[in-house]
């Protein structure tokens, strides 16, 4: 089993709920796609070439300030549960972790990670630089990844075209190679059934949404990942500014929806959030999905000051540690052990009993 305690914050610094607007926004993520000049893209390269890329990029990274002490994970040498663990911590994509039902891990698939910064290697592109911040922090997260990009760019030759910008394996990422995502909790809009209108509106202004785990994942627990759709034709600054403005607007809509719910159906909402809390506190078996939905209810209750003594950090922690791989690894069980729902409920009860009353 891998030892995630090697990472200064276990790779979960983003869930500490210390960032701006963290009652609505769980985390902000920036990713830059980069490829090495003169080398074929991942889809057409060989195992030897991927090893080469790994060697070259790791050497360059060790020479930087931001990744000098990076921990390296070779996904291609990790067990399924460890790969799933890294994925659940939002450190690697589903593709890199080879978690698709028929998915195999590609040889050379690796991750370098130090504090809030990381580089996925041999993903769809040779390098995927990423930074993950707590709360709504687009500018801070980008500034950090941009510094890493500059440091690596001085030591590596990136594929760049004077008109098209940074060249990527898929033309949907070409140009800036930038994908900025904000993981936001929108139960108010879901309950008032306004959510589809909001998501349609976002699509019209060039934004897209995904589920909790990014590309190809489903929406669970009313968490939506909002991100820019286009990467070419606007500067990084413009892309971030546009996304930021739209996210602020969505946050306003969400706050308004919550006020409407409290005004028009206070008894229903109060019952809903306390019922969720009660189930989490006393249930004897919880599936992952049920836990996520109940946590969403409690989170809403905390956000609108109906449930006083639960901290956002506690809820974030439950969100991460009740995920299948996290729970299985912590409990020493297999990923599909029938005992997991019982252990999940036990874990949630223990955390709530010990932490409620102390604001996280």
């Amino acid at each position: 089993m891998i030892d995630l305690s090697l990472l200064t914050d276990g790779g979960v610094g983003w869930l500490d709920a210390s960032g701006p607007s963290s009652h609505l926004v769980l985390s902000t993520r920036i990713r830059l796609a980069r490829n090495l000049a003169g080398r074929v893209f991942q889809g057409r390269n060989s195992e030897t070439e991927r090893e080469d890329i790994l060697k070259i990029v790791e050497a360059a990274a060790r020479d930087t300030v931001l990744l000098r002490r990076a921990i390296k994970f070779r996904l291609d040498r990790l067990e399924f549960s460890d790969r799933q663990l890294l994925h659940e911590r939002h450190l690697v994509s589903k593709e890199l972790a080879g978690l698709d039902p028929d998915g195999r891990v590609r040889s050379g698939a690796s991750l370098l990670v130090q504090d809030r910064l990381g580089v996925m290697l041999n993903e769809e592109d040779h390098l995927r630089l990423q930074g993950l911040h707590s709360g709504f922090a687009l500018d801070a997260a980008y500034a950090e990844v941009d510094r890493l990009d500059a440091e690596l760019g001085q030591r590596l030759a990136f594929a760049f075209h004077s008109e098209f910008g940074y060249l990527t394996s898929c033309p949907t990422n070409v140009g800036t190679g930038l994908r900025a995502s904000v993981l936001i909790h929108l139960p108010g809009l879901v309950l008032t059934k306004e959510i589809s209108k909001v998501l349609q509106g976002l699509a019209q202004v060039g934004l897209t949404f995904r589920g909790l785990y990014g590309e190809g994942s489903e929406v669970v627990g009313n968490f939506f990942q909002l991100s820019n759709q286009t990467t070419l034709g606007s500067s990084e600054y413009e892309l971030l500014d546009h996304l930021g403005k739209m996210v602020r607007q969505v946050m306003d809509y969400e706050e308004q929806a919550r006020q409407v719910l409290l005004r028009d159906a206070p008894a229903i909402i109060e019952d809903k959030v306390w019922r969720a809390y009660g189930l989490l506190r006393y249930a004897r078996a919880l599936s992952f999905e049920e836990a996520m939905n109940l946590l969403s209810g409690v989170r809403l209750g905390v956000g609108v000051n109906l449930i006083p003594d639960v901290g956002m950090y506690t809820l974030n922690k439950l969100l991460v540690y009740t995920q299948p791989a996290h729970l299985a690894v912590a409990e020493g069980l297999g990923p599909s052990d029938p005992d997991l729902p019982v252990r999940r409920a036990q874990f949630v009860r223990k955390v709530l009993e010990s932490e409620v009353g102390r604001r996280g």
Partner: protein, 162 residues
């Protein structure tokens, strides 16, 4: 009025261009216009990448065009790209420049990177001069492939640089 290009189909698109201070109007049918990278307003699709890919380079005319259909660097073809949605290597962006430019315009609404510029290691040529020579090369290609709209755009950009 019949199309000035193929002289067969009905001209439905009337393209006004200004080349060397002279105003010219081209009357084209939808297919010839599409080959020049012009779209009729009703044809603006809102479909995802898959549909774009499926439509790319499939007309028989395009297959016979002198344009390379495999990349000289990696050997990848447009058919590979259509199937996987992934290009083979950075050079594919040159090899398939014409259809890709069209695709990028549809995907991103632009073909011009406006973000941070990467200064390659060991580049001695000033960025601007390098850009000018690349633009000249693109202009030559655009004229060769009779992509007049693009050529006019490139010429304007060259003027600004020079």
């Amino acid at each position: 009025m019949s199309c000035e290009q193929c002289r067969e189909r009905e001209a439905v698109i009337h393209l006004t261009q200004i080349v060397n201070e002279q105003v010219t109007t081209l009357h084209l049918c939808e297919r010839c216009a599409a080959e020049k990278g012009v779209e009729s307003p009703g044809a603006q699709p809102k479909t995802p990448l898959g549909t774009f890919l499926a439509a790319m380079g499939q007309e028989p005319e395009q297959a016979q065009a002198p344009r390379a259909d495999t990349c000289s660097r990696c050997g990848g073809s447009l058919a590979d790209f259509r199937e996987s949605g992934r290009l083979g290597c950075p050079d594919c962006y040159r090899s398939f420049e014409v259809p890709l430019r069209d695709l990028l315009r549809r995907l991103h609404g632009s073909t011009h990177h406006m973000g941070e510029r990467y200064a390659e290691r060991g580049t001695t040529e000033p960025a601007e001069r390098q850009q000018t020579s690349e633009l000249r090369e693109q202009l030559r290609l655009a004229v060769e492939t009779e992509n007049f709209e693009l050529a006019a755009e490139l010429r304007d950009r060259l003027r600004v640089l020079e």
